[in-house]
C-alpha cells in the first residue's frame, strides 16, 4: 500500500500533481486569516480558560496552581447558588412568554395581505436596537418620568410614581417585558420561515375536508412547525441562561441582589473581586452545561429531520 502510494506520486505526470498540490496550498492561503482568528482568539483562550480555572489567578501577580480550590469555592459561593436558581426561573418564564408572543405575532402576519410588510417591520424594529441601548431605554421608560407614570398621574389615578423595578417580582417581570419587546420580532421571524415552508396544498386539503381553523392549527400547523419551534426554544433558553446586559443595566442586580444572573456573578468574580481563576471555574461549568444543551438540541432536531 505504502509503496504503491509512493509509486503513484513518483510516476504521476508532473504537471497534474503539482497543480493539485498548488490548489491545496492556495486554498490554505485563503483560509489562513480564518485559521489565525479562530486559533488565536477562540481556540487558545478556550484552552486557557481550563488552565486558569485550575490556578489562583489574580488580575495582578503571577498565577499559582491550586486545583480544585476554584471549583470547591463555587459550591460554597452563596451568591452563585442564588444566581443559578434565579437564572433558571428567569429562563423558564422568559422562554414561555417570549414564545407565546412570537407565535401569536407570526400567525398574525403569516399571510400576504395589504400592509402586512409594515406590520412585520413594526414588530421587528425593536430588534434593530442594541440590547444595551434597549435596557437603558427601559431604565428611563420605567422611571417616574416614563409614559405610564406620567399618563396615570395626569389622569389623577396615582400620586406617587409606580416603582416598576422596586420589588424582586416587579423587577423580574419588568425585565421580561423589556426582553419580550426586544426579541419577540426576532423569534417571529424564525417562526415565519417555518410557517412559510409548510406547503399550501396541505391547508387546502384540510379546508376541503371541513377542518375548523383551530383544528387546522392544532393538527397541521403545530406538528409541521415543531422543528422551528424547537429551534426557537433552544435559542431562547441558551440566550436566557447567559443573560447579562438586561440585569446589569436595567435592574443592576437589584433590588437587594434579587436579580443577579449567573454571568453577572462571573463578571463580579473576575472584574470586581479581580479573581479571574474563580471566574474561569464558573465559566467552565457554564460551558459544560451549554455544550450539553447543544448536544441535546442536535439530537432532538436531528430526529425531527
Amino acid at each position: 500500500m505504502t509503496t504503491q502510494t509512493i509509486d503513484r506520486v513518483v510516476t504521476r505526470p508532473r504537471g497534474r500533481g503539482t497543480l493539485a498540490q498548488r490548489r491545496s496550498l492556495i486554498g490554505m492561503a485563503y483560509a489562513a486569516p480564518t485559521a489565525v482568528i479562530v486559533g488565536v482568539f477562540f481556540l487558545l483562550p478556550l484552552g486557557l480558560v481550563f488552565w486558569m480555572s485550575a490556578n489562583r489567578w489574580r488580575v495582578l501577580g503571577s498565577p499559582s496552581f491550586n486545583f480544585p480550590d476554584n471549583y470547591a469555592n463555587v459550591a460554597d459561593n452563596q451568591l452563585f447558588r442564588d444566581s443559578v436558581s434565579f437564572t433558571l426561573k428567569y429562563t423558564a418564564i422568559t422562554t414561555i412568554v417570549l414564545s407565546a408572543v412570537a407565535l401569536g405575532l407570526a400567525l398574525l402576519v403569516q399571510n400576504q395581505r395589504p400592509g402586512v410588510g409594515l406590520l412585520r417591520t413594526a414588530y421587528f424594529l425593536p430588534g434593530a436596537v442594541g440590547f444595551a441601548a434597549a435596557s437603558l431605554l427601559f431604565y428611563g421608560f420605567y422611571s417616574g418620568s416614563g409614559p405610564f407614570d406620567s399618563a396615570l398621574r395626569d389622569l389623577g389615578i396615582i400620586d406617587e410614581p409606580i416603582n416598576w423595578l422596586g420589588t424582586p417580582n416587579a423587577a423580574l417581570f419588568s425585565t421580561i417585558a423589556m426582553v419580550t419587546w426586544r426579541f419577540a420580532g426576532f423569534n417571529m421571524l424564525i417562526l415565519l420561515t417555518g410557517l412559510q415552508s409548510i406547503p399550501t396544498d396541505v391547508y387546502e386539503a384540510a379546508r376541503s375536508d371541513g377542518a375548523s381553523s383551530w383544528q387546522t392549527f392544532r393538527y397541521i400547523t403545530l406538528p409541521l412547525l415543531r422543528p422551528t419551534i424547537a429551534l426557537m426554544l433552544v435559542l431562547s433558553i441558551t440566550g436566557s441562561l447567559l443573560a447579562f446586559d438586561q440585569f446589569f443595566i436595567l435592574t443592576r442586580g437589584g433590588p437587594d441582589g434579587s436579580t443577579v444572573s449567573m454571568v453577572m456573578v462571573i463578571f463580579r468574580e473576575g472584574f470586581t473581586r479581580f479573581n479571574l481563576g474563580s471566574a474561569a471555574a464558573i465559566s467552565v461549568l457554564l460551558l459544560i452545561v451549554l455544550v450539553a444543551l447543544n448536544v441535546v438540541q442536535l439530537r432532538v432536531l436531528g430526529r425531527d429531520r
Binding site: A31, T34, I37, L108, P126, A128, L136, P147, G185, S283
Partner: protein, 265 residues
Amino acid sequence: MRYYSTAAALAILFLLPLGWAGVASVQGQAGSGQATGVGFGNYKAMAEYGEGIGTYLANTAAVAVMTVVGTLVVSALGGYAFARFRFPGKELLFLATLAILMVPYATILIPLYVVLGHLGLQNSLVGLSLVLIMFQLPFAIFMMRNSFEAVPRELEEAALVDGCTTFSALRRILLRAVRPGLITVGLFAFLASWNDFFAPLILLSDGDKFTLPVAVVAMRERSFGAIDYGALEAGVMVMALPCIVLFLFLQRHYVQGFTTGALRG
C-alpha cells in the same frame, strides 16, 4: 377590520417605547440640559459628558468599521477557500469556526482578557475589533461559503482558463456574484459591533476608549442623586438611530441572512 385594529394596536405597542425615547430626548425637564420646552439641550448635555460624545462616537465608529471590514475580508477569503478548494484540515477548521457559537460569551472573554494583555492589545479598540470579528465568523463563514457555492463554477473556470489567477478571478468576477451575501454579513457585523456591551465592558478600561453603550451606562452610574433621563434617552437615540435607519434600508438583506444562514448555522 378586526384584524387590522388588533394588528395596528400591537404595532403601536411595539413602537411606543421607541417613540417615547425620541420624545423624551428632546423634551424639557427641570434641572436638565433642556430645562423647558422642546429642543436639543439634552443632546448638548450628553455631548459634554466625560470625554465628550464625539470621542465615544468616534470610538464606536472605529470599532464598527474595523469589525465590518475585517469580517468581510476574512469571511470572503475563507468562504472562497471552503467552497472551492480542498486542503488538509479543512473540515476541522470549519467545525472549529462553527463551535464558536456553542461557547458562552463570558467563557471566552475571561481568558481573552489575559490573551489580549499578552499581545499588547489590552484596552485597545483594535483588540476589541479582532474579538468581535471572531464572534462574527461562524455566521459570516457559513454565509459566504454558501454564497460562493451558489455561484456556477463555469463563471470562474472561464477566467482561470484565460490565465487569471484565482485571486483575480475572486476579485473581478466572484465578489460581484456574492455581493448580496457580503451585504448581509456586513450588516450583521455592523449591528453586533455597534451595539456590543459585554466585550467592551471587559476589554476596555480607560474612559477615553469607551464605546457608546459602555460610556452611556457609565454616565448613568456616575450621576449620583437625580438621573438626567433626558440626556439618557438622548444617548439611547444616538445609539439606536443609525441601526434603525440601516435596518430599514437593508431589511431585505437582513431577512435573507436570517433564513439562509442564521437558522441553519
